[in-house]
Amino acid sequence: MSNLLLKALFRCPVTTDAPPVSEQALAELAVNVDSEARRVLGRSLSIREVDAGSCNGCELEIHALNNAVYDLERFGVKFVASPRHADVLLVTGPVCKNMRVALERTYAATPSPKWVVAVGDCACNGGVFADSRACVGAVSKVLDVDLHIPGCPPSPDMMLRGLMALLSKYAKNPSASAR
């Protein structure tokens, strides 16, 4: 293992230099966090992920945001273990009826100001499960949603861009959009 550590010392980071479009987006996210959003969030954004019935595809890609390649935490954005520590709820899935109460309670447990991001086609519009009688459908039928990130599942890149958009949205007018 010492070999592994030694190599790591001399190796370049694997963290992505984002592709052309999103490089700008990532830089913008970093800038926003540094200047505007600092007043509201003290340079950090805490996210609580809630799976409201996803097939777990979205979770896999949300996980990927935390890997060394996308390294979400370099932007001050991190996932937290409790809704009580969160600013943002990242909700996936077509809101199964069996998960509705848990989702509502998680939202209630999140302190204001708070934002809701619907991640994936299912959370945005019910996806392939839209017609199911066991599902409520889009997250917006249960909670007010501030941002939709479509995709089945959305790539980590798309999620990064989405989170950046959220930051820029409330950074301009912090109190108006928050609940």
Partner: protein, 497 residues
């Protein structure tokens, strides 16, 4: 009488005319009960599902390699319970009761399972769910979930503990019940494929192959040879990505973040290569009945050759680091032991079974192309602890790397997709069993003359693994639960349907 083989016993019943590739027999109550008595001993129960009129049970006989389905007609909404004699059937029977309102006579546990009071299928007044009691001095309960601390799927765990030691774990699942089986009814083959690809997103390739094979079996057609090989290629990439994820996740739960970080990079490399070659990171909707959606270019082949060379080199370092870190091994060694007899009784598939002496692997036991033309081994150990489950994953990564190379070397040229017949005479039934990273995935379906699905049942390997997690955690400390859980990595979505 006692020495009858599975097929001899079943063939007393009436064979279903259009069921492929394995036979299905309509059996009498007497045979049904005899079969139930032999389950977990010389016959493995591979699935249990219902339609409006029948209960179906998929059976595998390890000694002969025979595989078949036994069907029993439901009388007055009742049939003799299997779980009365064979506990692994319990949750499946509770589900059949919830979704089809067939009453298993003698069912030992009559609490609802997927029904949380929101099901349309039942109109049952729902009593508050009662967890199994545990009493004694100093015993207390820890409720966990459905919303967990990590980025994982929802489910409820009720721990009863004494000090640090878990006395009992009881799972309450069904939170992500999406009504998939109901949705599948009446769908055309293509829409059905979309749904089956989303039963459990981490196994999307394996599910799509199982579904495609079931459709193809029902229609008695074969996809072009190149499609079989490209499917296997995607399946092995999926296995690699998930095993990397799981190996890293177990290490992370032992607070060994270094290997988690390294394994995460390998996983990301696989997903990026998959995206470059097949146009989707998880390769969702790339397999379709009749073949695969897009071809692999020569350029893509080059990407994959480079991928496996670079993975092989870096993976050895990770395997070495795991093997030589005593503080990490201290957490995994002897933790969460699954005894081989339980693995056998539950017909536990995948890594979980193979870490506890059960050598079943659909790629070998119920071989399908191109695996019958490839060289690989199915590593098995007896220890059954968290370490054994990691060790099996490490070995399977090596096997998969070799399989990917063999496939790239020998993938035949030609068509990669064929058309399906739009109409055919009479109802058809088909079945597919495919080895996903988690274990054997079974898809059974019945097609109407116009090509619509009358009934489709996808069975996740997790059905026979979740209950074992309850057994494994007992007498371990609470802090070791995450290790046990991650080393199992059962699917919530695949189970809750």
């Amino acid at each position: 009488m006692e020495n009858l083989s599975l097929l001899e016993r079943l063939s007393t019943g009436k064979a279903a005319p259009e069921h492929r590739p394995w036979p299905r027999f309509e059996v009498t109550k007497k045979t049904w009960e005899e079969l139930a008595a032999g389950l977990g001993d010389h016959i493995d129960m591979m699935g249990l599902w219902a339609d409006k009129t029948h209960i179906h049970m998929a059976l595998f006989e390890p000694s002969s390699g025979a595989f078949a389905v036994a069907s029993l007609a439901v009388e007055d909404n009742k049939y003799p319970s299997i779980s009365r004699r064979h506990p692994p059937a319990m949750r499946l029977e509770r589900t059949i009761r919830d979704l089809f309102v067939h009453e298993p006579s003698g069912l030992p546990d009559t609490r609802p399972w997927l029904d949380h009071g929101n099901l349309i299928e039942t109109d049952r007044p729902l009593k508050p769910y009662r967890f199994l009691p545990a009493e004694g001095r100093g015993v207390h309960e820890i409720p966990v979930g459905p919303v967990h601390a990590g980025i994982i799927e929802p489910g409820h765990f009720r721990f009863t503990v004494n000090g640090e030691t878990v006395v009992r774990l009881e799972q309450r699942l069904g939170y992500v019940h999406k009504g998939i089986e109901k949705l599948l009814e009446g769908k055309d083959v293509e829409s059905g494929a979309k749904l089956c690809a989303r039963v459990s997103g981490d196994s999307t390739v394996a599910y799509s192959i199982a579904y495609a094979r079931a459709v193809e079996a029902a229609l008695s057609i074969k996809p072009p040879a190149r499609a079989d090989w490209l499917r296997a290629l995607m399946a092995e990439l999926e296995r690699l990505a998930n095993h990397f994820g799981d190996i890293g996740a177990v290490c992370n739960d032992a607070s060994f973040a270094l290997l988690h970080a390294y394994a995460g990079i390998l996983r990301e490399d696989v997903l990026r290569a998959a995206n470059a070659c097949f146009g989707h990171r998880l390769m969702m909707d790339r397999v379709t009945p009749g073949g695969v959606v897009s071809d692999l270019s020569d350029e893509g082949k080059g990407v994959l050759y480079r991928l496996i060379s670079s993975l092989a080199e870096r993976f050895d370092e990770i395997a070495d680091a795991y093997d030589n870190t005593a503080s990490l091994k201290d957490r995994t060694w002897g933790t969460g032991i699954l005894p081989p007899d339980l693995a056998r009784q539950y017909a536990a598939g995948g890594v979980i079974g193979r870490a506890s002496k059960r050598s079943f692997d659909s790629r070998k036991s119920l071989p399908y192309p191109p695996y019958d033309q490839l060289e690989f081994s199915v590593p098995t150990v007896n220890a059954g602890d968290v370490n054994a489950r990691i060790w099996i994953r490490l070995q399977e990564v090596k096997q998969s790397l070799s399989l990917v190379r063999q496939i790239l070397d020998a993938v035949p040229r030609g068509d990669f997709r064929r058309d399906l017949p739009k109409r055919f005479a009479g109802e058809r039934e088909g079945m597919g069993v495919v080895e996903g990273f988690r274990g054997d995935i079974l898809v059974w379906l019945r097609l109407a003359e116009d090509g619509r699905l009358i009934r489709c049942h996808p069975r996740d390997p997790s059905w026979f693994q979740w209950p074992l997690l309850e057994a494994v955690v007992k007498d371990n400390i609470v802090a070791d639960f995450p290790l046990c859980n991650k080393s199992f990595n059962c699917s919530y979505s695949g189970h809750d349907l």
